[in-house]
Structure formats: C-alpha cells, structure tokens
C-alpha cells in the first residue's frame, strides 16, 4: 500500500481496532476470572471457548502491533506491486484471526448454563451479555477493516455501509457494559483508583475490573483532568495511559513528580508503547510499575495488589494514632505533620480516676494490664470518631480533632467520642471490679479553639499534636471534672458549636482557672439515656440562675428539693454548699462573684 493508506491504517488501528480488540481481551479475561469461582458453574467447553477467545484476541493484538511497527514491510509504491497488494494480505490475516473470536462466541451463545445455584442466574445474564458484547466488538473490528479497505456495500449481503457506520459509532458511544457479578465473598479494603485513559472503552473496562476487585474507581480522560482530580482527591492508585491528547502520561508523571505527589501515590503506567526508553523514563519519573497492552488481567491484578499492599503497610504505621481516613492522607504526605500551623481544634483530656490509690493496692503488673485495658477502649472511642490520639501520659489520654486535616464538625466529633467513653466505661468497670474492689471511673474535659498544631516533640522523636492555651484549658477542665463530680465537662467554646438537640446537657457554672485570665463557662454532657435528665437539668439551671442573681435563699431551697430526688447529684450538692456559704457570710453585692475560682492544675 502507499504511504497515505498506511497512515490511515495506522490511525484506524491505533484509535479503534486495537481498542475494540483489547475490550474483547478484557471482557473475556473478566469472565474467566469469574468462572474461577466454584459457585458459578460453566461447562468445560465454555471455559475452553473463553480461553480460545482470550488467547486469540491477545494474539491478534500482538499481530497488529507488530504490523504497526514494521511499516517497511507494507509501504510500497502501488504501481510496482499490483498483484499482491500488502493491504489485501494484511486484511486477510486479520479477518482470519477474527474468526477465532467470532466462532467460539457463537458457540458460547448457544450454550445453556446450569442455573441451580444461587447467583448462577445472575451470572448467566452477565455471561450472555458479555459474550454478546465480545461478539459485537469483534463485529466492530470487521466493520473497521471494511471501512479501511473502502469497501462499498461489500458486506452488503449483511448490512449496508451506512448502517455499519451507525453501528460503529453507536457501539462506541453507548457501550453496553454489564455490571460484573461480585465473586469475592469479602472484598478487600476498597481502594480509590483513578483510571486515566483517553479512550472511553478502555476506561470502562479498567473501571469494571477494578470494581470486580472490590475497589472504587474514578475517571480522567486526559492529563489535565487527571492532575485536577489527583489534587482534589486522595487516590490510592492511579492507572495511567501514556498516549493521550492535550497532556500525555509522561507529562502527567513529570508534573506529579514536581509537586512531590509521587512519593506516596503509586502510579501504574499502561501503554501500547513499550519501547524501553519510555518505560525507563516512566520509572525514573517515579511510576511504580509498567504494564503493556493488551493488558493481562491476572498481571494487572497482581500489580495493583502489590501497590496497594505497600501503601497499606505505610498507612498501618500511622493508623496507630490516626483514624483510617486521616492515616491514608498522612501516609500520602507525612510532611504535613511537621509543618507547624494554626488550626481550629477540639482537644480532649481523659483521666482515669483513682490511679494512685489503685497503684498502691494492686501489683504493678495488674495495674499495667488494667490501664492498658481501659486505654484500649478509650482509644477506640477516639479513632472511631475520627480523632487523633495525641498522647498517653500515665493515666491520662489526650486526643484532638480538627487537624492534621480540617474537620468542620470537630466539636461534635470530640463530644461524641467523649460520650462513647462514658457509655463504654460500665462494661470495663464491671470486668475489673473484682480485682480493684472499686469502680473504674474517668473524668473528661473538652475545649475548642485555635491551637498551634505540628510536631510538638523533637525531630528525633516526633509527637504530633496541639500546643497553646486551648490545650491548657482543656486539661484544666478535665481537672475541674473531679471537683465538680462530673464525668464529662465541655467549655462554652465547645458547647456553643454543638447542636443542642443532639446532646443532653446542663450549664454547670462559670469558673476561673489558675493562670488563665478569662472566665470559662462549663457545661456537663450526659448520655441521652440518663434518667429524669430534663427535670434535673432544668431545675439545676434555675437554681444556678437564682444563685448568680444573689437569690441564695431561693437557690438553696430549690436545690434542697432537688436533692430529695437526686441525693447524689454532685453539682447540686456543690452549688448548695456555695449558696449556704454565701448565706452564712452574708456577702454584699461587691463581695459576691458568681464566677468560681478553681484552684490546682
């Protein structure tokens, strides 16, 4: 053929024929994967047919690639070589090979699959529509070859050229891809995979395979879109095509490399180009691995798993201290922990009560087990509510919300975690009661505000956490919980950001703590299931208002009544004693300060 025809052949082969053939390979590969599952029964003959189609399509793909790489064999001056036109023999070879796809497909479509088992019926539908798709892809390849030869109505005994063309464009625009039947009983932890390919059919096939593996996928159809998506979302893996319009895969790798994003984001390069220069360039730029088309699904699966496994190992390191979602992001960009910055956070301190007393009574080994047991539960509550475990200091746990990643609802999350601690404590208290001879109790303080977050340890021994007044105050509030005989106290700064309908609470008092100038409102939060809470909290708050307005007698009498029904309500007892004190001292307006000074740390 002459150079013009050759160029057309190359274009159509690259853009269309190879794509549909790869779709055959992959649809078929996916079906083969599914038939590996013993719960889907497929006659042996059908399996062999699938294997034939799979092998033939791969062989055909390689054949075309070889043809494309040897233009010298096919480009001649047509006048010189009339009888044995190379395009004709090429066309013959291609059509002959396509027969090995068409034939088995038609046999498979005649087969009746057994339908006894559950899921089998569903599989039968997938199977039929997939095989039909494979046949349609092969038909499309025949049509493309016909177009290339400029055949006018030569397949006319079947269809007219126009209807062929419609067919080609239809199949390309709305691919009838069926949902894969899930064959894994327990899908692996789903990963987020970005599939970057300019060809829709390729994208869909890859996405389908990823879904089949139990992952979630998103698409990008060129390099620019890929970069935008990678910057906006944290992916676990990128499957990157090389030949793309606008910005090709190598340019994408360059850019990712420049932005330092490749260190922890595995990229698998997929391409028809397999000149070793390209591969080396991709790997040097930081791609994790390389797969050439047509993609062998078994190999792809192995590489994807290897990439994700490596990444998960890193994440596991961080998931000791960070909830999974944040661990993922930290594993991607660990340097985010070193960058000190100001952030809006909620800080929680939780203290295990009576630690010193119990330490005196119990053997150290038991004390350690007890503390570890309790800390385990407390830590779970933190991580389950997307909090960061900042530190354990003896009998105290410190947690934070709002950093390293922004959490607009950090106050809510912190309070939920704190409540979960309170609610899970009775079980562990019952477990340890025989050993300790006393209940296990905690005191929790939560405060919200600005803090400096970053590495608060040293370069040698990193410790990620918050620093500043917000933190100090949270610690003091925790200390106040003991004095106020409450399990869970939050400051006004935290409380004001909560949805009052979500939590049962009461305003306890306004306090002033050592070394902190401003007075702080404290609220108590209790489990929604607490008995008679509405009555108790309303009556307490009325008494508090009376007290703060110097109506001490009224406050004392209200509290007296309240204590008849709730004799062990610590805050009521305290307020009562303060009201009585004011009465005894007969304090004047100038003397009276409704703000309670809290001593100690």
């Amino acid at each position: 053929m002459n150079a013009d025809r050759w160029n057309r052949f190359v274009k159509v082969s690259r853009d269309d024929i190879l794509v549909v053939i790869e779709a055959v390979t992959q649809t078929c590969g996916l079906l083969l994967e599914q038939t590996d599952d013993p719960s889907f029964q497929v006659p042996e003959q059908v399996r062999r047919d699938l294997e034939t189609v799979y092998d033939s399509s791969r062989e055909l793909y390689r054949f075309i690639r070889e043809v494309l790489e040897s233009p010298e064999r096919y480009i001649h001056d047509e006048a010189e070589d009339e009888s044995e036109d190379s395009l004709k023999s090429l066309r013959h070879d291609l059509r002959n090979r396509l027969n090995l796809i068409h034939g088995p497909c038609q046999f498979m479509l005649m087969e009746e699959l057994p339908q006894e088992s559950r899921g089998q019926k569903e599989f039968q539908q997938t199977f039929l529509s997939d095989v039909t798709n494979i046949r349609d892809y092969a038909n499309q390849a025949v049509n493309l070859l016909n177009e290339l030869s400029g055949m006018e109505g030569e397949l006319g005994d079947i269809r007219s050229r126009d209807s062929l063309r419609d067919d080609v464009s239809n199949t390309q625009s709305e691919l009838k891809l069926t949902e894969p039947v899930r064959i894994r009983e327990k899908p692996v932890e789903p990963a987020r995979v970005l599939v970057v390919d300019d060809n829709e059919l390729n994208r869909k096939m890859l996405a389908r395979f990823m879904e089949h593996m139990g992952h979630l996928s998103e698409f990008a159809s060129d390099g620019h879109e890929a970069l935008e998506k990678i910057q906006a979302t944290d992916f676990d893996l990128v499957l990157l095509d090389i030949l793309m319009p606008r910005m090709n895969g190598i340019e994408v790798l360059h850019e990712l490399n420049n932005q330092g994003l490749l260190r922890h984001l595995p990229v698998l390069v997929l391409s028809g180009l397999d000149s070793s220069d390209e591969i080396i360039q991709c790997i040097e730029l930081g791609a994790e691995d390389f797969l050439s088309r047509p993609i062998n699904l078994t190999l792809l699966k192995a590489r994807v798993n290897a990439c994700l496994e490596k990444k998960r190992l890193r994440e596991r390191e961080f998931s000791q201290f960070f909830p999974r979602e944040i661990a993922r992001q930290v594993a991607l960009r660990p340097e985010m922990l070193d960058e000190g910055r100001e952030a809006d956070v909620s800080v929680l301190f939780c203290d295990i009560r009576s630690f010193s007393r119990i330490s005196e009574k119990l053997e150290p080994e038991k004390v350690v087990r007890w503390i570890r047991d309790v800390m385990e539960v407390l830590s779970e509550c933190v991580l389950d509510h997307q909090g960061v475990l900042v530190d354990y200091i003896g009998d105290e746990l410190v947690a934070m919300w709002g950093a390293p990643t922004e959490q607009p609802d950090h106050t809510k999350l912190a309070c939920r975690a704190a409540l979960a601690m309170v609610e899970r404590l009775p079980a562990i208290s019952r477990k340890w009661h025989p050993e300790l001879g006393m209940p296990t109790q905690v005191g929790i303080g939560v405060n919200s505000g600005k803090a400096h977050v970053g590495n608060t340890g040293t370069a040698r021994r990193r410790k990620y956490g918050p620093l500043g007044n917000t933190v100090n105050l949270a610690s003091r509030v925790q200390g106040a919980s003991r004095y106020l005989q409450s399990s869970l106290l939050v400051t006004g700064a935290t409380f004001d950001q909560l949805d009052p309908n979500e939590f049962s609470s009461r305003r306890l008092c306004t306090v002033k703590v050592n070394n902190i100038e401003e007075s702080v409102v404290l609220h108590e939060i209790v489990s929604l299931e607490t008995n008679d809470w509405t009555e108790l909290s309303e009556r307490y708050e009325q008494a508090l208002v009376a007290f703060e307005s110097r109506e001490f007698r009224q406050a004392a009498s209200m509290l007296g009544n309240l204590l008849v029904h709730h004799p062990s309500d610590g805050p009521s007892l305290l307020l009562m004693s303060r009201a009585v004190n004011e009465l005894i001292n007969d304090s004047t307006e100038e003397d009276f300060d409704p703000v309670w000074p809290l001593s100690g740390k």
Binding site: T52, S56, E84, K88, S89, R91, H92, D93, L94, R95, N96, L98, N99, L100, I101, H102, G103, P104, Q106, F107, M110, A138, N139, V142, S149, M151, E154, I158
Partner: protein
C-alpha cells in the same frame, strides 16, 4: 446424513467447523492443503466442499494465496467431481477476489470471519439441495 469435506489449513478454524457441523448432525472429513483436498474429493465424493482459499499447495508446502482457487478449478473441470457443490470460505473477500473464486467455478462464497453461523448453515443447506444462490 450429508458428508462434507472441510478444506482448511488452520487447526482452530477446522475445530470450529467440526463442532458446528457435528452439532447439526453432518458427517465430515478434513483436508488441509490443495493436493489432499482434490484427492479426498475424488476418493470420498462428498456431498459438499467447504474450500479455504489461502493454504499450502501440498502437505508441508508453502502457503499460496490461490491454492483453493486451483483446487476449485481442478474439481470443477473433472467430470467425476464437477457436480459437487463447493463453497469458497475465505478471509479474502474484496470484490475482485470474490470474482476470481466465482470464475474458478465455486457455487457459493462464505467469507471469514463467520460472523453468523446461521448464515453459514443456510448456505450449506441451500447448496446441498442443489439450489445455488442467485
């Protein structure tokens, strides 16, 4: 039941045809080159021949793009075999190529790939009944 001679050099294609013909209850024999095809036709007198075009001229020989055309000519010019219907089955399907098969004397043409088995089976049935395509 009708006996069909499959002339085809590609093993997988042979298997495909065998499966299809067996399924439909035909008997068949196979030849994989021009020389064997002509001999088998004379010896067995099949009811129909499916004739590939591009194949070796003799066992182990070089593949020729026209071996099938030669075989058709030979069989159609021999009184003994001239009435056996021959369907040219080829992936060569451009108009001028099809014309050459017809000039050689084939009764019908089925181009590869066989995108529709029913069509292939209909063509076989039609030629077995002696009513070749218009």
């Amino acid at each position: 039941m009708a006996n069909i001679l499959i002339v085809e050099d590609d093993e997988t294609n042979v298997k495909l045809l065998q499966r299809l013909l067996t399924m439909k209850g035909y008997q068949f024999s196979v030849a994989t080159n021009q020389k064997d095809a002509v001999e088998a036709a004379r010896r067995e007198m099949p009811d129909l021949i499916l004739m590939d075009i591009q194949m070796p001229e003799e066992p182990g020989g070089k593949v020729s793009a026209t071996a099938g055309i030669e075989a058709i000519r030979e069989l159609k010019s021999d009184q003994q075999t001239s009435s056996v219907p021959i369907i040219a089955t080829s992936a060569h399907d451009l108009p001028e190529q099809r014309n050459r098969f017809k000039e050689a004397g084939c009764d019908d043409i089925q181009s590869k790939p066989y995108t529709d088995f029913n069509e292939l089976l209909e063509t076989i049935e039609r030629n077995l009944k002696g009513t070749s395509a218009p």
